[in-house]
């Protein structure tokens, strides 16, 4: 394995290129027309245009991806997350083309891709699953019947998919039909499969997941848990490792269950076993993500392990670089997803040009982003433009540093979730680790608001000052047209004179 084609874009393509460099592997980027100037294209050793801009024409176009790999002599493909990362068909296409797919074989991917089949297999392997159906519902009426039998609240879930799409919570019998239809149509349009099944709703659960790594030599480790309970409509917003709450005994049991799940599926490479954990510490298999996850970073921060490097090692047929006995968590890490969305407009995507950008830094701060000033954020792709990952000696230090980093993170030109996430992390419940997966949706309106409102007066003064500046600029521009000239601040002029004359 010498050259890896990175079949993705944005921060995760950049992330994978970095890991390839660390492993001494050459890299090939692929890009859509809209992405010619993106960082992954500039960073890779080679880059191949896919032609077109929609995902279907580009990062989902299996034949184009395979052709790009073959034409550049790449011998492996890393899919990142999203796009073709969970496509068993793509895995098979790679194999047919003689390319190493950096990820699991297609069989466990297929198994875990079918939520119902996965539930069945996990149940059989002795991994606890959420009570509910082991088969998809025939239609809305059947679904209602099943739900009535389980008792409310229940979750309707698309067999395919993930990422919060195609999921509906139903609290009353008469809501089932509408929710079923919407979940089915959303799943059909997003994943091409409208099948829906039913699970009992675990009340006030935590979403806690276990990172596993399995090599082709029988080596298998789990890297502890990530807590991802801060979700908006099943979309993860903030993740952390370790959990602020999980009892040690439950952690160990979950790690073992996760490895049991992976082994039962014949899994190889990096994967994540997601669990719901109720207030008593009972945990239930939710699904297995058969790819690198967005939030793999927090695990890396507390374990000092480069998960993508390990993926590449495993794909090259080498053993894991460490064993379970070497795994020891150190400190605490928090990841915040930075999205080009406007929280005040229902988190709708915000397109536009990044006019001004300042990135946070300092101790413990890691940035996985692919943004730059002048970048055009389009609506072609996912709205997540990057991730802020922060390490601290303990949860308090990590949280304080994260808040400070969010304060330092300035993006103008588009709306982002930065101020919203900062307010979220300032909530007492979050500081104290008292939340479940329902917390954010229940408190959303309050958090989207303005926090303390401490700066109302400053906001009013700022508005007046902005108005005055604009009026002056307009007047100055008008004067310039009439033959006037713009001024330069005294210190700039002085600095330039000094630079010319060497007086300092």
């Amino acid at each position: 394995m010498k050259k890896v084609l990175v079949a993705n874009r944005g921060e995760i393509a950049v992330r994978i290129i970095r890991a390839c460099r660390a492993e001494g592997l050459a890299t090939v980027a692929v890009y859509s027309d809209a992405d010619r100037r993106e960082q992954h294209v500039r960073m890779a050793d080679e880059a191949v245009a896919l032609g077109g801009s929609s995902p279907t024409e580009t990062y989902l176009a299996v034949a184009k991806l395979i052709a790009a790999a073959k034409s550049t002599g790449a011998d492996a493909v890393h899919p990142g997350y999203g796009f073709v990362s969970q496509s068993a068909g793509f895995v098979d296409a790679c194999a047919a083309a003689g390319l190493v797919f950096v990820g699991p074989p297609s069989e466990p991917m297929r198994l875990m891709g079918g939520k119902v089949e996965a539930r069945r297999a996990m149940h059989a392997a002795g991994v606890p699953v959420v009570p509910g159906t082991l088969d998809p519902c025939r239609d809305a009426a059947h679904a209602r019947e099943v739900c009535d039998g389980i008792g409310y609240p229940v979750m309707l879930k698309a067999v395919a998919g993930g990422g919060g799409k195609g999921i509906r919570k139903v609290t009353r019998s008469e809501e089932v039909a509408g929710a079923f239809d919407r979940a089915a149509s959303e799943a059909l349009s997003s994943f091409g499969n409208g099948e829906v099944y039913v699970e009992k709703c675990v009340l006030a659960p935590r979403h806690i997941e276990i990172q596993v790594l399995l090599d082709t030599h029988g080596g298998a480790v789990h890297l502890g848990e990530r807590e991802c309970s801060l979700q908006r409509r099943h979309q993860k917003i903030v993740e952390e490792a370790p959990s602020s709450w999980l009892p040690g005994a439950t952690r160990a049991a979950m790690g073992e269950a996760a490895l049991r799940a992976a082994r039962a599926a014949g899994y190889v490479n990096a994967g994540t076993v997601e669990f719901l954990v109720d207030q008593e510490g009972n945990f239930y298999f939710l699904e297995m993500n058969t790819r690198l996850q967005v939030e793999h970073t927090v695990t890396e921060m507390v374990h000092g392990v480069d998960i993508v490097r390990e993926q590449l090692r495993i794909a090259a047929g080498r053993p894991l670089s460490f064993s379970q006995a070497d795994v020891r968590a150190n400190g605490h890490a928090i990841e915040v997803r930075i999205c080009a969305e406007d929280p005040e407009q229902g988190f709708f995507p915000s397109a536009g040009r990044i006019e001004h950008l300042e990135l946070p830094g300092g101790p413990g701060v890691r940035l996985d982003v692919a943004v730059y000033e002048g970048q055009e954020i389009t609506l072609f792709y996912d709205s997540m433009i990057g991730k802020l990952v922060v390490w601290g000696r303990d949860r308090d230090e990590a949280l304080t540093r994260t808040c400070e980093a969010l304060r330092e993170f300035v993006v103008s030109g588009i709306r982002t979730t930065i101020p919203f996430t900062l307010r979220l992390l300032e909530q007492d419940a979050v500081r104290e680790g008292r939340y479940d997966t329902g917390y954010l949706d229940a408190n959303l309106a309050r958090i989207v608001g303005h926090g303390t409102g401490r700066h109302r007066f400053a906001a009013s003064v700022t508005a007046a000052l902005v108005h005055r500046e604009r009026a002056r600029n307009a007047a100055r521009a008008a004067a310039a047209v009439r033959g006037g000239q713009g001024g330069v601040p005294a210190w700039v002029a002085l600095g330039r004179r000094s630079a010319m004359r060497g007086l300092e």
Partner: protein
């Protein structure tokens, strides 16, 4: 110069007093220096006395969004002259209570869930708008009846397009 500023619905009057090349405002009866310098492209640094706040501003004077530290404020601002002119035109509250539900973002209408004449309450789902492959329910924000529906399933709408008029 005096300015009328609306900060999240609350109307405030701000007077900027210029003296000796500096600008002052009155806060709690005390005059403090106010200085806003442009860092670059919508990013500013505000000093109110010695208090320092990073600011990001975007939008027009009519619809100016300001982020100060972790707080985001929706404002509008007019100077005295503009305020007087607007008052003379009888404007100012035209938008209030219009009952027109607009698209907050571009998207495609996937389903219209109400019909003209339907009685609805605050929170009733009106239609489903799909953007970035996410389906989003647009709900009524007040009680009323559906006066007019401007779209149907499959309509592609731009931000600000009228969706439904509530009576």
């Amino acid at each position: 110069m005096k300015y009328r500023v609306t900060v999240d619905g609350e109307e405030l009057s701000v007077e900027l007093v210029e003296r000796g090349g500096r600008t002052f405002v009155v806060r709690d009866g005390v005059e403090v220096a106010a200085e806003l310098v442009l860092v670059r492209n919508g990013a500013y640094s505000l000093l109110l006395g010695v208090e320092s706040l990073p600011v990001v501003a975007s939008g027009t004077n009519d619809d100016l969004t300001l982020t100060l530290g972790s707080e985001t404020w929706r404002t509008s601002v007019a100077d005295e002259r503009e305020s007087l002119a607007a008052a003379a035109m009888g404007g100012g509250s035209a938008k209030r209570g219009s009952g027109l539900v607009r698209a907050v973002m571009p998207g495609i209408v996937r389903e219209v869930m109400v019909r003209t004449g339907d009685a609805i309450v605050r929170g009733t789902p009106l239609l489903i708008l799909e953007a970035m492959k996410m389906q989003n329910e647009v709900r009524a924000d007040a009680d009323g009846t559906v006066a007019e529906i401007h779209v149907k399933a499959g309509t592609a709408v731009a931000k600000g397009d009228p969706l439904v008029t509530l009576g």
